[in-house]
Symmetry: C2
Subunit: 449 residues, 2 copies
C-alpha cells in the first residue's frame, strides 16, 4: 500500500515512463500512468520505432535496482564489439571494452517495454490508462488535457505532480514551451534512417556473427545491424534525405540494387526483401532536442526523450533515460517534503550530463560512419584500450566510461580530456627517456673505449 | 491596379509585415495584411515593447526604395556615438563611425509603425484586417486559422502565398514547427529588461546629451538610454532575472533607491518616477530564435522576428528585418513564375546572415555592458577606426560594416577576420621595419665613426 500521501501522474508508458512508475510505487507513492498507445501486451507493434536497442551498464544498473535486470538480460544478445564490413567485404572486429569482455546488449524495444509495463502493472499503487495522450497541461491549476484515443474526446485530468515521460514530441513539454523563458531547441540531421531485415537462417541460425554490432562505414553514410533473439538482424541505413546521393534519388528497383551492390555488396544476398523493404519502410528523421528548465516548480518535470532526445549513435538514449529515473528517484528521496526542490535539484544536476551525451552521440556518428573504417583510428583505439589496461585505475577509455560505468556523462568527458593530456605527456616522457638513455650510452661508451 | 494575378497574405502588420505589404503591392501583387492588434492609428500603444529603436543604413535603404526614408528620418534623432557614464559620473563619448559623422537614428517604434501602416493603406492593392491573429496554417490546403480579437471566433481564411511576419511568437512558424525536420531553437538570456523614463526638461529640452546613445556599463549588467523626439529619454536596465543581484531581489523603495544610487548615481536625479516605474513596469525577457527551413514550398515563408528574433544589443533587429523584405522582394522579382523557387532562394541565401547578426548581437551585449567601460577597449576602438580612415577602401571597421553599409552580415564577419589578420601583419611589419632601421643606423654609425 501507499506509504506516502503523494500522487504522481506519469505521462508516457514507454521505456522511461513505465520504469519511473515502478520506482515511484516502490517509494510508496500513488501513480497514474498514462500512455497514448493501446496496451502493447495485446495490440500489435507500432512501425517506425527502432526494433532493437543497445542496453549497457547505466540501463542495467537502473533495472537491477528494482530487480528486473535478470529478466531483461535473459533474452538479450551481448555484443562485445563492432564488426566492420569493408566495401570489399573484408571483416574486422573491434572490441568495445579495454578488457575485451564487457559488452553492450541488443534487446528488443517492444519486449523490454512489455516487461516494464507488466512490472508496473504488478505494483498495487500504479494505475495504468492506455489510449490516453497528454495534449497539454495548465501548470497553475494542475489540470492536464488528456485525449482519449478510442472516443477522440479530450478530458481534463487533475494532477498534483506530473512526470513528463512522453517522448521527443512531449505534450507536457509543449505546454512548458508556451511559458516565458523556456529555452528550447530541436535540431534535425540532414540524414534519415530506414530499417531493413536480415532474416534468420535455418533453425534460427544467425547469418552473420551473432555477438557483434555490425557496421558498414562508408564515410558520409553507413549501415549498421543488430542481432535479434530469433536469429534475424535489423539493419539500419543512415543516409542523407536529399541531394545527389540520397533517399530522394533512389526510387527504382534497378537503382536500389545497383547502389547496394556497389556499396554493401556482402549484405545484398542476406536481405532477400531488400527492394521491397527499401521502397515500403518509412524513412525516419533524427533529431536532438534540448530544453531548460526541465521542471515547473513542483508541478511537472521532464525525463527521457521529453527532456533530451538524442541521436542513436552512442547507443545511450535508453540508458540515459533510465539513469534519469535513478537520479529523479534519488532527488525525491532526498527531499521528500519539498517536491519543488527535488525537481529543481534533479533538473539542474542532470541537465549538463544530458547535454554531454547529446554531444557525444552526434560526435559518434562521425566515428561510426567514417573513422571506424580507417586504419589510423583502429590504431588509436588499440592505444586507448592498452592505456586503459596498463593504468586500470587512472585511465578509463571514454567508451568504457560511457557504456560500462555510471560515471556521469559530463564528468566522463572532462576526465577523458585529462587522460588525453596525460597520454601526450607520457609520450613526450618516453621520447625524452629514450634520448637520455642514448646520450648516457654514448658517454659511457666514450669514457670506456 | 494589380499587374500580377498573385495574392499574398501577410500575417503581422508590425514593422516588417507592413513594409512587406508595400513592397508586394508595388510589385503589382494583391495583398491581404492581417494584424492581431487593433489599428494603432486609433488605439493606444501596447506596453512591453521597446519604445524606440535604432534605425541605421540597412533600414534606411529599405525605406528609401519605396520613398519613405525622408518622412521617417524627419522625426528621428541621430546618434553619432555612445556616451559612456562611469560609476563616478564621468562622461566619455565614443564615436560609432570611423569618420565620426555617420549616425544611427533613434526612432519611435509606434511612430514608424503608423507611417508604414498608413503607407500600406494608401496602396490600392493592400487590404488590411486588424484584430485578426493567425493561430495556425494548414500548409496542404492553404487554409489559415485567424482569430478575431473582437468576437473571439476563429475563422478559416484561404491563402495562396503566406508571408509570416508575425513576430517572435509567430503563429505561422508554430505550424511549421509541427512538420517533420523543422529545426528550431529559442534561447533566453538570464538577463531581462525594464524600461524607465527620463522626462524632458523645460520646453522639451534634453536632460542629457541629445545626440548620443547613453550607456552605463557595469560589467555584468548595464543601463542604456535613447533620446525621444519630445525631449525625453527611454532608459532600459538590462539585469539578471534571478540571483543575488537581480530583479527578483530588488523590491522595496529603499532597496531600489540604494541600488540606483550606488551604481547609476548620475541617473537618479533624472528619473523622478524611478521607484514607481521600477515597481510597475514589466520585466521583459530576451530571446534568440533560430529556425530552418524558413519556407514551406510556395505556400509560406518567414521574415523578420518570425524567422530570426535576436537580442537588441547591436540595434539591428528592425534593420535586419527590413533587409529581409528587400531580399525577398528581389527573389520574387527574379523568379516571378516560380514562387517556391523564390521563397527557397531567399530563405537559403538569407539564413546565414540572420545567424551572423544573431551571434553579433549576443556578442555586443558583452561589448556594451563590460568592454565599453574599459580603457583597453577604447584604445582598440581608436586603432580600429584609425585603420579604417587610413585604408578607407580595404579596411572597414566591423561596426561600420554592420551599421553603415549593406554588406551582408556574414560577409562582414568574414571580412573583419581578414582585416584583423591584416592589422596583425601590419603590426609585425612595423616592428620589423623599426628593427631594420635601428640595425641599419647602428651599422651606418659604426662604419662612419
Amino acid at each position: 500500500m501507499a506509504t506516502s500521501d503523494r500522487t504522481f501522474t506519469v505521462f508516457g508508458a514507454g521505456l522511461a515512463g513505465s520504469l519511473m512508475a515502478i520506482y515511484l510505487a516502490r517509494a510508496g507513492h500513488r501513480v497514474h500512468l498514462y500512455e497514448r498507445r493501446p496496451d502493447p501486451r495485446t495490440a500489435s507493434a507500432e512501425r517506425g520505432r527502432s526494433i532493437n536497442l543497445a542496453l549497457s551498464t547505466r540501463g542495467i544498473d537502473a533495472l537491477e535496482r528494482i530487480g528486473l535486470a535478470e529478466e531483461v538480460l535473459a533474452s538479450a544478445i551481448p555484443m562485445p564489439g563492432r564488426m566492420i564490413h569493408s566495401p570489399s567485404g573484408e571483416l574486422t572486429f573491434q572490441q568495445y571494452a579495454r578488457d575485451g569482455k564487457q559488452a553492450i546488449n541488443s534487446v528488443s524495444r517492444a519486449g523490454l517495454n512489455e516487461i516494464l509495463i507488466s512490472a508496473a502493472d504488478r505494483e498495487e499503487n500504479v494505475e495504468i490508462h492506455f489510449d490516453a495522450r497528454c495534449t497539454g497541461v495548465d501548470f497553475d491549476s494542475g489540470e492536464a488535457s488528456v485525449l482519449d484515443g478510442a472516443s477522440g474526446q479530450t478530458r481534463s485530468v487533475p494532477t498534483n505532480h506530473i512526470i513528463g515521460a512522453d517522448g521527443a514530441f512531449s505534450g507536457v513539454r509543449s505546454s512548458m514551451q508556451r511559458r516565458d523563458r523556456f529555452s528550447y531547441s530541436q535540431d534535425y540531421l540532414t540524414h534519415g534512417y530506414k530499417e531493413l531485415t536480415i532474416p534468420a537462417g535455418e533453425g534460427g541460425s544467425f547469418a552473420i556473427e551473432k555477438q557483434a554490432l555490425h557496421i558498414w562505414p562508408r564515410g558520409t553514410y553507413m549501415m549498421i545491424a543488430l542481432p535479434n533473439a530469433d536469429g534475424s538482424f535489423t539493419c539500419t541505413l543512415f543516409w542523407p534525405f536529399e541531394g545527389p546521393n540520397s533517399f530522394a534519388e533512389l526510387r527504382t528497383e534497378a537503382d536500389i540494387l545497383s547502389f547496394f551492390k556497389a556499396h554493401f555488396a556482402d549484405a545484398v544476398p542476406l536481405i532477400p526483401n531488400l527492394v521491397d523493404d527499401f521502397q515500403n519502410n518509412p524513412t525516419s528523421s533524427l533529431a536532438t532536442v534540448r530544453c531548460a528548465p526541465w521542471n515547473v516548480g513542483d508541478r511537472a518535470v521532464l525525463i527521457g526523450d521529453a527532456a533530451h532526445a538524442i541521436v542513436p549513435f552512442y547507443g545511450q538514449g535508453m540508458n540515459a533515460s533510465f539513469e534519469d529515473v535513478v537520479w529523479l528517484d534519488r532527488a525525491l528521496r532526498e527531499h521528500p517534503d519539498d517536491i519543488a526542490l527535488a525537481f529543481d535539484s534533479y533538473a539542474s544536476a542532470r541537465k549538463p550530463h544530458a547535454d554531454a551525451i547529446a554531444d557525444l552521440a552526434l560526435r559518434n556518428f562521425i566515428e561510426m560512419r567514417d573513422l571506424a573504417g580507417r586504419r589510423s583510428f583502429r590504431t588509436w583505439k588499440k592505444i586507448d584500450q592498452a592505456a586503459g589496461r596498463f593504468f586500470p585505475e587512472s585511465y578509463i577509455p571514454l567508451y568504457d566510461m560511457v557504456s560500462f560505468s555510471t560515471i556521469p556523462y559530463a564528468d566522463a568527458v572532462e576526465r577523458e580530456k585529462r587522460q588525453i593530456a596525460f597520454l601526450k605527456r607520457l609520450g613526450i616522457g618516453i621520447v625524452v627517456a629514450i634520448v637520455l638513455v642514448i646520450v648516457a650510452s654514448v658517454f659511457f661508451w666514450a669514457f670506456n673505449r
